[in-house]
Symmetry: C2
Subunit: 390 residues, 2 copies
Amino acid sequence: MSVKALFAALAISLLSACAAPQLRGTGDLGVVIERATGRVEVVETSGRSMLGKVAGLGDLSHASVNYSRDGRYAYVFGRDGGLSKVDLLELRIVKRVLQSGNSIGGAISQDGKLVAVANYTPGGVKVFDSNTLDLVADIPALDAAGKPSKVVGLVDAPGNRFVWSLFESGEIWVADMKTPASPVLQKFRNIGKEPYDAMITADGRYYLAGLFGEDGLAMLDLWNIPAGVKRVLNGYGRGEQKLPVFKMPHLEGWAATGNELLVPAVGRHEVLVVDQNRWNETGRIPVHGQPVFVVARPDNRQVWVNFAFPHNDTVQVIDVPSRKIVHTFKPGKGVLHIEFTPRGEHAWLSLRDENRVEIYDSESFARLGDLQADSPSGIFFTHRAHRTGL
Amino acid sequence: MSVKALFAALAISLLSACAAPQLRGTGDLGVVIERATGRVEVVETSGRSMLGKVAGLGDLSHASVNYSRDGRYAYVFGRDGGLSKVDLLELRIVKRVLQSGNSIGGAISQDGKLVAVANYTPGGVKVFDSNTLDLVADIPALDAAGKPSKVVGLVDAPGNRFVWSLFESGEIWVADMKTPASPVLQKFRNIGKEPYDAMITADGRYYLAGLFGEDGLAMLDLWNIPAGVKRVLNGYGRGEQKLPVFKMPHLEGWAATGNELLVPAVGRHEVLVVDQNRWNETGRIPVHGQPVFVVARPDNRQVWVNFAFPHNDTVQVIDVPSRKIVHTFKPGKGVLHIEFTPRGEHAWLSLRDENRVEIYDSESFARLGDLQADSPSGIFFTHRAHRTGL
């Protein structure tokens, strides 16, 4: 190679090395899950554009995402037990581990140092270093007799804790991760039959598990652990199992609006209003179909609702103070998820069967634009890094 | 120059051009105001380190900061009317305008496109394009007779609105900025004597202005604008003006903890408990001195309080459910501000007279470390970009 050619080659390689990833803030980034293709689409919400796609993430049906505390890395939890760390700036997978045969979501610790994954097969929780994805702790989910359970409803809680539920054995476990390699476990047994999902309130105080095998919810007040798990909202789900339930609503889809929770009824065309101090039902709002996600706009003034098949082409908006539906619209087929921008000016909707994401003004309801995406499901923006339980 | 020397020079210049600002997320960044030197210190909360300092920001006594929605840029509002846009990644001032003779803080619009500044001299609000800092709207603060007022208590509100108060004329104005160059103003007159500061609740619903000239607070419910401004908390400040008030507490320092606000009493060694639904006082918590900032940990379980001189060497922690003081400590002289990391695991304190920032574990209260800073005052982390009224 001549000196001139070497010179040119060096210049090009240096330039391409530094030109590739653009210096930018990460506060307005997010990902859209492309469930059918094992990819995520990286998006930014200021200009409402796609930055690129990252492939090779495995089975992303029922995938979820957490973020590193700097907002640069997305931890993608796949259904196949894959845990992938995706760099949103360099648009690449930094590390990927197949940590079990079948998993159902995860959580990142309050200090951002630990990523935990809930597993079906084999059951249990694995905890990884968020930087390296090295295994830090492996916590089997065995009941008192030593039988394994599927783990569901894994969330983070203040005090660098994780909380989860055991499906078969009907237990709630709290893990204090202050010494990551030696989790301190508290186990609550006989909390109810077959907890199938759970949520934690935004303040990190109340952990609520939905029960597949009976009515009501199991609640643990993390500010009063000695009081143990109590049963609340005893009517929730009563008799609903006899109705055709097209999709069990996610508990993460519950909307907290000050003193009230707005909750999807199971199998009914209703959103339930729950008093968050007394934990009883105070009202029902008739809606267009079986609600799946009931999502509060960040100012809590509105709640947006999507629905199970065959009503999953429709979105309704509830005005919280009046409890009235103020807007109904049909964006298209297969509305799977709703995500608001951090301060709530826009709502992003994923339309799986239309292969696009649509963006709406949350005050005028004007359609602002759309982005192409292959079978989009979950949409996750990076401000979740700064919230408990998201 | 020989080919070899040219080669080396090119390599160095290309490397230095691209090596300078490191690719990184912005979700864990923040700034510390160095009030005496006109600088900000850029910090990161994951490794608890200083990234660098940016100088040339003018008079930073009583400075405040807002963030761009991507978390990359800090808008620094100086006392001298200076508005500076600081790039946290490149550690430099991108743009600086001296927009008035004397100003008192600002706000960024919900959509992130507009930065507004509240001015003393001359009074009024100037609104700038957040990208270019070009002037978009200039709104004088004139009463019905055409007399100018100082503007205080400027905040952002949902619906791309700004809200502020007029000190001399006793008014609250709401500006709808949907068409930025043509703000639509709603003016509420006779709201009370000399509003000196204001805050908006985290949901962007209630705007509350403190009154220097009389007791009580002026409240505007932005969900019910036709109801107009009401007087609430009539006892607030009653008779307190006769006591020596060492520092009027900031209203931004009020802590919302679910249904309650914890509020610094004016001139008294007490924190007031206010029912946020009825807007009456329901309790008083005796504290070590005249409270200045009453800051809720993000999970609302604790509230940290600092004090006016001569008690400004001390911090107290209130346990919210029991309303008891669970910890009292003396970090050093001149504790001016308290800022929690986004999910609340650490509290950062600025110690003006010790020239350092200290970092504490918010659960064990262990001191985790410190950073040098020249006369530090306000500490502002980038997650504020995603919150209303911060």
